[in-house]
Symmetry: C2
DNA sequence: ATTATATGTAAATTATTTTTTACATCAAGT
DNA sequence: ACTTGATGTAAAAAATAATTTACATATAAT
């Protein structure tokens, strides 16, 4: 139960309905990792957070929200 | 060997010579975690990254650098 | 001289993140 | 009817992050 929320799913749909697998491939992780992040099962490592933000062309703070 | 560098040590000295322990306490981790991050032994979790940035009053991107 | 604070290093353990594998349902297209 | 792609769920294993503990050196202050 992480204290960090995120807009990954929203951003994924905004990004031309990008699929979980497409995002996973773009980021370089497995689909399970994307699912876990979207479902807030845990929050990602800083490296994965950077990569996700990069794929969506925004800053970490625009994707992930602390508190 | 993380592909992320950081300015934690620099920011710590800029912040009135804040000690490793003072930063660790402010962030809510142990001194070993701060040491590991400063020495680039590994990069922190997203949560710890957010807290460190918060302590220094800046964004994650001003503390941590991807690539 | 001794106390206190800051830093350095190291190693074992615990906790968390990520991968791997597997199978399920649903909808769209052929 | 069948195939394909997208999503959902689950659980074990592997990888990485973080804690705990311990001891070392150095410097500054009393």
């Amino acid at each position: 139960m992480p204290s960090i929320t995120n807009h990954v799913r929203r951003l994924r749909f905004d990004a031309n309905e990008m699929s979980q697998k497409a995002l996973a491939d773009a980021v370089g992780v497995t689909r399970q990792t994307i699912i876990a992040i979207e479902k807030n099962k845990y929050s990602p490592s800083l490296e994965v957070a950077f990569k996700i933000a990069q794929v969506f062309g925004c800053s970490i703070e625009e994707v992930f929200f602390y508190q």
